[in-house]
């Protein structure tokens, strides 16, 4: 890993209108068999203000769109967004491939910048773990960029 992280990885999980299966797989990631808390050092937090990684599932319904934006604003910089599941990536069966759906406002990359995609319906816990591992790399790069810019500002 080229850049380093100074904080633990704190994950806030956001459900945006999917069928809940991806959330069940994320739950499976935390059981002793996969043990993401110990292997990756991630911690599930219950407020977006404590988080630095946002894990989003679901196709983003029109009802929940504003809530998603609000939560994204509350996560402090630097932050990374991981989208889990096909619905979140493209709409999936709720309108993938640019097909219009009256109830869906998503997919999520229309509103907020997304860093990592985890395809699957649902993805296996191992795939989600790989996705979060990619997010660590992205987050570390963003954190070091932020530190460098802060240093430049204090010097100049």
């Amino acid at each position: 890993m080229s850049a380093s992280l100074k904080r633990a990885l704190k994950v806030y999980r956001l459900h945006a209108g999917g069928c809940n299966n991806c959330d069940i797989e994320i739950l499976a990631l935390l059981i002793p068999r996969f043990d993401a808390e110990r292997k990756l050092g991630i911690e599930i937090v219950h407020s977006p203000e404590d988080a630095n990684v946002l894990v989003v599932t679901g196709p983003v319904t029109k009802q929940i769109k504003n809530m998603v934006l609000e939560v994204y604003e509350q996560v402090p910089e630097p932050k990374a967004v991981v989208v889990v599941g096909t619905c979140g990536l493209s709409g999936g069966v709720f309108g993938g491939g640019g097909v219009e759906n009256y109830a869906i406002a998503g997919p999520i990359h229309k509103f907020i910048p997304v860093d990592v995609h985890v395809p699957g319906c649902p993805p296996k816990p191992e795939a989600i773990m790989r996705g979060i591992a990619l997010a660590i790399q992205k987050l570390a790069e963003k954190a070091s960029a932020k530190r460098n810019s802060a240093k430049d500002a204090s010097l100049g």
């Binding site: 993938g96 491939g97 860093d115 995609h117 816990p125 191992e126 790989r130 996705g131």
Partner: protein, 187 residues
């Protein structure tokens, strides 16, 4: 459930570690019947588009640019249902066990099958991949009743060189000569 039915401890095999090895699952494999990423054999594929019309998540895109036809398979849209493998008349699609597909958002993986398109002998319009015509011919030869096989295959040899519009015209001229005004309207 009576509490006496519950095991005291969840049993596991001796020597079986409580936590999956690293990287989890990639070594331990997948259960039987697991559906991972669909893989297309580009040599078998005739670009008929059955997978594209059957896909419930619109994951297969049909593109035709000039003389080149493409079927683009978008990984980010696939729901791994296996419908494409089920309906493929050539058996060109197979569900692999690949599931470790996480990637950075900027680089969406997609698979492309492409082939050159044949032109209509009469009007010169590009309409179908020659491999598809051969596959249909083979299917006719296998499935048809022997009493009509010769007749149908002879017609097929003639009609397969024409696009759907010209084929319709040719049939009309043949069965009702001079009865109808041909051309205009239609699809």
């Amino acid at each position: 459930m009576d509490s006496s039915e519950l095991p005291e401890k969840i049993p596991r095999a001796p020597g079986d570690p409580p936590t999956a090895p690293e990287p989890a699952g990639l070594e331990t494999g997948v259960p039987e019947g697991f559906r991972g990423l669909p893989k297309v054999d580009p040599d078998k594929c005739t670009l008929c588009g059955t997978c594209a019309s059957e896909c419930p998540a619109w994951a297969v895109e049909r593109v035709q640019e000039g003389e080149i036809a493409r079927r683009i398979f978008h990984v980010d849209r696939c729901i791994f249902c296996g419908r494409c493998a089920e309906v493929c008349p050539e058996g060109a699609v197979e569900m692999s066990t690949e599931f470790d597909l996480a990637h950075y958002a900027a680089e969406e993986p997609s698979y492309v099958v492409e082939a050159r398109v044949a032109q209509c002998e009469s009007c010169g319009k590009s309409f179908v991949v020659p491999r598809h015509l051969d596959a249909v011919g083979k299917l006719l030869e296998e499935k048809l009743d022997p009493s009509i096989r010769e007749l149908v295959l002879r017609d097929y040899e003639e009609y397969k060189k024409l696009c759907p519009d010209c084929r319709r015209k040719r049939a009309e001229e043949r069965f009702h000569p001079g009865k109808y005004e041909i051309g205009g309207g239609g699809r």
